[in-house]
């Protein structure tokens, strides 16, 4: 069984009368690149702050590396955080920011590590540029370097590609994949599913403070591929006919009238003919290909507004 590095149980956060997160249950396994998808204001940053120990839960529990957390117990030591904007002193250079943080961590080889990380994030050629003169992308890259300084086991990144140009996005993506290959577990939030799908191995969709779905990369791709949406009189009667007469196994029963058939090699008229012959009335049949973004919007109930 995979080792659980992050485990959230019934996690709730309220600010005065406003509930920002409600009964969140979530697990992140060792080696995951876990993508947290949600619209702006869905509660992604709040959830990451709770995991990172920056804020306190109103109810529920955060377990990291198998231990329940409190803000003082030091389990968070093994996490690197980049939540919202990178925490950087604008009047210092990138190197000075890293060296200052290495003092806080008590790293004896802080200078060396800083140089290595600057090299890794592509900022070594900016030795005298102050952070206030950095572009958004450079700040994000330095933020990742800061989060990596203490060699964490888990890296928590909140919207790491925000404000980056296409080259910057590709660079960050390459870096994250490389870090994951070296054994680092990543928890990344984003509102851009398309981009997240290029790196993440598991996903959770968060909407209005609630996790509405968790799924693997395979689940997501199968749901977003081409499919036939079939509306029949009785899905329970249709399913055995599809299996017996058309040898279809890759389908899902959505409700008592609806089935999704993922195997689109079968022709529509063959399906209709088989069902009618089996005595099942067909109300409608549509072939549909859904983009990742459409899927996300559909799940969060914002698809119609988006299409309009």
């Amino acid at each position: 069984m995979a080792q659980l590095l992050i485990e959230l149980k019934q996690l709730t956060k309220r600010y005065k009368s406003k509930t920002v997160l409600r009964d969140i249950n979530l697990t992140v396994e060792k080696g995951d690149i876990f993508g947290l998808i949600g619209h702006n204001g869905a509660g992604k940053s709040t959830l990451l702050k709770l995991i990172g120990g920056l804020i306190h839960p109103t109810a529920g529990q955060v377990k990291l590396f198998g231990q329940a957390t409190s803000v003082h117990n030091g389990i968070h030591d093994r996490m690197g955080l980049l939540i919202e904007q990178a925490g950087l002193y604008p009047s210092y250079t990138g190197r000075e920011n890293l060296r200052l943080l290495s003092l806080a961590y008590g790293l004896r080889d802080g200078g060396e590590r800083a140089e290595r990380l600057l090299e890794r994030v592509g900022l070594r050629d900016e030795p005298k540029t102050k952070v206030k003169n950095y572009s958004m992308g450079m700040k994000q890259r330095l933020g990742i370097a800061m989060a990596l300084l203490a060699s964490p086991d888990v890296l928590v990144l909140d919207e790491p590609i925000n404000g980056l140009d296409p080259q910057g996005i590709a660079d960050i993506r390459g870096l994250l994949l490389e870090l994951n290959k070296q054994g680092l577990t990543l928890l990344i939030s984003s509102h851009i599913l398309e981009e997240l799908s290029k790196v993440a191995t598991r996903y959770a969709i968060i909407d209005r403070g609630e996790i509405i779905e968790t799924l693997s990369r395979e689940d997501l791709l199968s749901r977003c591929g081409e499919r036939i949406e079939l509306e029949v009189e009785a899905a329970s009667a249709a399913a055995p006919i599809l299996e017996r007469d058309l040898q279809l196994t890759n389908y899902q029963v959505i409700d008592q009238h609806t089935l999704y058939i993922m195997d689109t090699r079968v022709k529509n008229h063959e399906i209709v003919a088989a069902l009618v012959a089996g005595g099942v009335a067909v109300h409608s049949l549509n072939t549909r290909k859904q983009s990742l973004e459409d899927y996300f919007l559909e799940r969060t109930g914002k698809g119609e507004g988006h299409n309009a």
Binding site: G74, L81, G87, Y89, P90, L100, L103, A104, A147
Partner: protein, 253 residues
Amino acid sequence: MLNLLRMDLRRLVGNKLTIALLFIYCLFHLFAIFMMAENPTPPMNGMTLVEMEEWQFLQHTSSIASSWVLIYLSVFTVYFYMSEYQAGFYKNYLSMRRARIYSVLSKLTVQGVFTLALLATVVLCDVVGRYFFLDNGTFGDPGLFLRVLGIQFLLHWAFSALILVVVIITRQLLTGVIVGIVCSFNLPGMALTALESLIGLPPISSYFLVHEIVNYKDYADLGNTLHAVLVGAVSLLLFTAIALYMKSKEDLR
């Protein structure tokens, strides 16, 4: 704790504002002594400015409201805390064990170092200013001077802890500075003193931190010394405890 302190001390030393504050204070203080020499006031506590020894002069300048030392301390405390808070740098290390507690203790230690540096600047300027403008190069009793310096250090450090509590709670730069300025005029102390005389309250204002700082007292007297140490130590402990509590309960941005 020591690692965070090293980081904060690096910021303190590498910060141009620290040097600038001390330098500007130095100029203002020398100018103030020059003006005192040009416009002599009637004798206070039976002696003129020229006759005062350093420990008395230090007491005298501290007791002039508004206290510039308190204003400078407020500005420094607010700036040092808020610059980290606004930059969000704390997010990088707050995941460490007991980081919230150690961070507050580290900030308080740095404030103590700055308080000491500020008082050392005051003494240095006093010595130079008195020598040049008041023709008084004598230092006086070193034991008594160290006692007064120690008391003033404790009281001023406790005051910086009060300002730290204010900025931790309000998270606002301006509020911290305004509270510092209001306190430097001893307005709360004066209001309480007025209430005491109006409605016959017991003299609780004498236990107020800022009231203790801006009132000239003869610290050659052991009773006054003990009173000041008690007020300073209790205030420092109280404000430290509040700062630690508030920080550990704080939801950070």
